[in-house]
Symmetry: C2
Subunit: 343 residues, 2 copies
Amino acid sequence: MPDVNRQIVLASRPEGEPTDDNFKLIESALPVAGDGEVLLRTIFLSLDPYMRGRMSAAKSYAEPVPIGGVMEGGAVSQVVESHHANFKKGDFVVGSTGWQTHSVAKGEALGKVSIDPAVAPLSTAVGVLGMPGMTAYTGLLNIGQPRPGETVVVAAASGAVGAIVGQIAKIKGARAIGIAGGKRKCDYVVNELGFDACIDHRDPDLAKLLAAACPAGIDVYFENVGGHVSEVVFPMLNNFARVPVCGLIAGYNDSAPPPGPNMAPALMRLILTRRLTLRGFIVSDFGSQRGEFLKDVSTWIAEGKIKYLEDVVTGLENAPRAFQGLLRGENFGKLVVRVAEPV
Amino acid sequence: MPDVNRQIVLASRPEGEPTDDNFKLIESALPVAGDGEVLLRTIFLSLDPYMRGRMSAAKSYAEPVPIGGVMEGGAVSQVVESHHANFKKGDFVVGSTGWQTHSVAKGEALGKVSIDPAVAPLSTAVGVLGMPGMTAYTGLLNIGQPRPGETVVVAAASGAVGAIVGQIAKIKGARAIGIAGGKRKCDYVVNELGFDACIDHRDPDLAKLLAAACPAGIDVYFENVGGHVSEVVFPMLNNFARVPVCGLIAGYNDSAPPPGPNMAPALMRLILTRRLTLRGFIVSDFGSQRGEFLKDVSTWIAEGKIKYLEDVVTGLENAPRAFQGLLRGENFGKLVVRVAEPV
């Protein structure tokens, strides 16, 4: 076992898009697990858009990462040494253990990975069977509430959350329309994931193409991007449409409000006249539904009703570049970093 | 009985604030009630902010009033002649019969007024026991869902809807904070209606005063005004706050989006990070709750738990001026026009 811990820390706060300079790879002493704690070796680190928020000084629903602090992130890890009764050496766990090769965590902050290897690989514990999958499941079913025959629209449709949103919409009998960046992603969303259509958000005819794909309007818009996609979708929402507000990646790099006119009053007016429901959520708000989620989605995977794609980058040192690409939509599928091989 | 019908029609569409020129008083022949219809004499015409929307060409949740068409509005009327089994001469009814002294309506489009004169006067059928009261009741209880000890904020707090929102919030054990225009209205809201505090929206220290009145933040914001009041309230919303979106009177006269910056992305970000629920509604969305509403609110009035104030203007010809004043907040209490005396 190496006696150093490699960590990626926040070197400075980004203005606009993060750059290499905002991250720094350092080496530190291996942490020591105290009573009730567990020493972990990171296997798969998850990279997700929300991490951009933690890099800014502004408080969101969570505190920002301090300058010099280890970048936050969920990971699948393997237990090296356990001082907690629930875990033993060799166990696989998930937890918010950060961008580093090793970590120490309290046992209570960890979940045991109980994925049947015949159903899905270990990495899915931070993917379709982890936070992103549960985000899709809980947001769509609790807030979106798609009914048979309704139309569900989701952007970043080949991504970790969007792909699952559309497939669950189909399982519930709704039409699923994706929006994604580029022909390759769109083809995958329709041909492999079974969405009814997928539109390239870079197409200048986005509004026209989306309207054609949604002849009966839009009943559920799973909001995970914001920006110009939102502006195109909102006018097509039907009366009583539901909008789970899950993420706004298009604006995460903005350091100031965009120029006018001010469209906030028009948004409020649309909420009023169409009687829309907009509701923000984060996955932990529905933590009590974890059991149902795992049961349902595991079953759907085993039945071939839910497919997933992972974009695996190897080596912790490549996490900053991969993360920058994620914010530009360069990943294809759920982005994970293979930090080490399990033993 | 006079043989003419006096009507106020839409002469032209307003740009910005409506003016006298947008309305025209005309006389026409008394309408004739056909089979299944009822001839009515208007007693109390209700004036409400939503009517501004009907004056514009843009489709809202309802079609605009055509140029030359009778202005839309709810009223309490008395039956002059009935060709419908459910109604007889002398009955009092409510319906959307417009700004006119007489009307003909299908029996199915009318509701019989069944207000106990010992509890409240006839005019309340378009006030606290009518559309505005039911708007407050259904929006607050279905969407706002105030819990004991929570803080509910409502603007136009001395108005037809706001006054009832705050009093029901108190009945449900929540704190009620009003916002209103001027000291006289604010004093009334606190001293007569029993709100915990009321802030003058014209006070340059609005934000500071509101923050002081809401030391634990805001859990429910009943949105019936929009504009600068909204901008002050939204940053004070707590995690998981609920916002019934009922009206946006501050923007009804706007003919174009206000200048930038564009605050729509910031609004979406607040919805996400605070996990807010915004939901638009109109009272008819909760039509099935009419029975409960009438029972509860009548009981609360009889018990002295709900008070109401009416601002009564006499004469149909004064409706346009009174309506213009309503949009400027000049009324004090629910604005109604006494069109004729009952016989």
